[in-house]
């Protein structure tokens, strides 16, 4: 099992969700996060004074899935999240040691 973590532009969430739903992925966790990469931050101006916003708001989408589905899911997220501009985000994949459904106690692939 793998855990796919995608950091995306907030306004791409609906597109990403639709793309994953179309692939039959049945769940995800979304968190509001702040951070920076090559995009760096931006500045805002209030009453003539500049304020530096170092950390840009992003969404973190986490999806747990079986090893065989990783490539198509990464492909779908990449396509759905991309605008072509700097700041589109990143995708990370890590091995998932275990999974368990709290209600039934099912484990492994059955819990996903």
């Amino acid at each position: 099992m793998k855990l796919v973590t995608a950091i995306i532009q907030p306004h791409r969430l609906d597109t990403v969700r639709e793309a994953l739903t179309a692939l039959g992925i049945n769940g995800m966790t979304v968190t509001e996060v702040r951070g920076y990469g090559r995009q760096k931050g931006h500045t805002e101006i209030y009453r003539g004074a500049e304020y530096t916003i170092s950390f840009t708001p992003k969404l973190k989408v986490e999806v747990a899935l079986g090893d065989d589905r990783v490539d198509e899911v990464i492909g779908a997220i990449t396509q759905a999240a991309r605008t072509g501009k700097i700041g589109d985000g990143k995708i990370f994949v890590v091995d998932l040691a275990a999974a368990l459904r709290v209600r039934t106690g099912e484990t492994g692939d059955d819990a996903l």
Binding site: E44, I45, Y46, R47, G48, A49, Y51, T52, I53
Partner: protein, 409 residues
């Protein structure tokens, strides 16, 4: 003072205006300031404005009203109305057709908002006890005497100074004192480069809108009668606010390519502060001219305080209120002189300007000195600043044990 007759119309209007002016502090000013600070300090600002309103109300009843409006001394009122001891149900305030109780209450709302304006200077770093002590002392030692000088028959009134609703009395006193306290308190830790932007610009807009409406009571009520003076004052007030808003937006649009909401409503308040002393003499066209001048000058003043003298007057009390109030006070003779005012001056325009200038300068100097002493005293008695750790944590939890926003719960 039970010889004159009470006018029901005047009384009804001033009762209404009283409610409008209290609305300017609770919640208008609190929201205006609250939206400008960081999320971790929102409740502390609301608590400061709320508590200042209560402390200054009780002190106005006990001593303030008497020091401002009792007796005919040149420098200070007397103790004749301490604890409002001689206030009767059918007493009439001299020179008006208002019950004394209504006049006391109307003026109390001014004594509440003026110290509350200063809150903007010291947010995000001051001890709550220092807020209460400084505000209470300041209302009695700075505000009440200046009210007596200008509106209570004191030396500036005798010279013929013109301050319709408080350009000198409210905005110059609060603006200058704000700068002194901000300077003595030293800047916030992150000043100037790491300061965080306003956490809720929408709240700033709601506060400014309520202030705008409340200002109709502030300026219109200062006519102390329900006639054409009040009507013209409200018309002038509205036009000045609208014009100043447009001009501030235009400045930002030209300079930065985008007109911001926070900037627009800052312009509104600058325009309102500027028309305040002149609302009795400026006609509609005079108000538009004053409103435009207000945003040009206050925009520059805000920049000056931050960048040139580098004092952390956090929410620009001097730049917006102090400078606006002084501008309106000094400009009003010229508004009449060039024929765009509807009211009459006490003196010829240039002579009137001299009197206005003496009023602004004398009150500014007195406010600065007295505020310095009060703040020193507060520093010795309770301390001015919260610990650095508490400043980082935010005053909501550090000073009040509460949190403004419980999200994701």
């Amino acid at each position: 003072m039970i010889d004159a007759a009470i006018s029901a119309a005047d009384t009804a209007w001033i009762l209404t205006a009283t409610a409008l002016v209290l609305l300017m502090t609770l919640p208008a000013l609190a929201l205006f300031y609250g939206g400008l600070v960081q999320a971790k300090n929102i409740l502390s600002v609301l608590a400061q404005c709320f508590a200042v309103a209560c402390v200054c109300s009780v002190l106005w009843f006990a001593f303030g009203y008497s020091l401002a409006f009792s007796g005919d001394g040149a420098w200070l009122g007397d103790a004749g109305a301490f604890l409002l001891q001689n206030l009767t149900r059918d007493g009439v305030h001299s020179g008006t057709q208002l019950p004394e109780s209504v006049f006391v209450m109307f003026q109390m709302t001014f004594a509440v908002i003026t110290p509350a304006l200063i809150v903007g200077a010291y947010v995000e770093r001051i001890r709550f006890a220092a807020v209460l002590l400084i505000s209470g002392l300041w209302m009695l030692i700075v505000y009440a005497p200046v009210v007596h000088w200008v509106w209570g028959g004191g030396w500036l009134a005798q010279m013929g100074v013109m301050d319709f609703a408080g350009g000198i009395v409210v905005h110059v006193t609060a603006g200058v004192s704000a700068l002194v306290i901000a300077w003595m308190l030293a800047p916030r830790q992150e000043f100037p480069h790491g300061i965080r932007p306003p956490h809720a610009p929408w709240m700033v807009m709601v506060g400014a809108s309520l202030l705008w409406v409340g200002w109709f009571g502030f300026n219109g009520g200062s006519a102390l009668t329900a006639g054409g003076d009040a009507g013209m004052a409200i018309l002038a007030t509205h036009l000045a606010a609208a014009t100043a808003t447009i001009v501030w937006m235009a400045i930002e649009w030209i300079k930065f390519g985008k007109p911001s909401l926070v900037g627009a409503v800052t312009g509104t308040i600058a325009g309102l502060a500027t028309i305040t002393p002149a609302a009795g003499v400026a006609g509609p066209l005079g108000a538009v001219v004053l409103g435009a001048a207000a945003s040009c000058l206050c925009y520059f003043a805000v920049w000056m305080v931050k960048k040139v003298i580098s004092v952390d007057d956090a929410l620009d009390v001097l730049g917006v209120h102090g400078v606006g109030g002084a501008l309106g006070t000094l400009a009003l003779p010229f508004i009449v002189m060039i024929g765009i005012g509807g009211g009459k001056l006490n003196h010829a325009p240039l002579e009137q300007f001299g009197v206005q200038a003496i009023g602004v300068v004398a009150v500014a100097l007195f406010s600065a000195l007295a505020t310095w002493i009060i703040t020193k005293l507060a520093d010795m008695l309770v301390g001015l600043r919260v610990d650095a750790e508490h400043e980082t944590q935010g005053l909501d939890f550090a000073s009040h044990g509460e949190t403004g926003y419980h999200t994701n719960r």
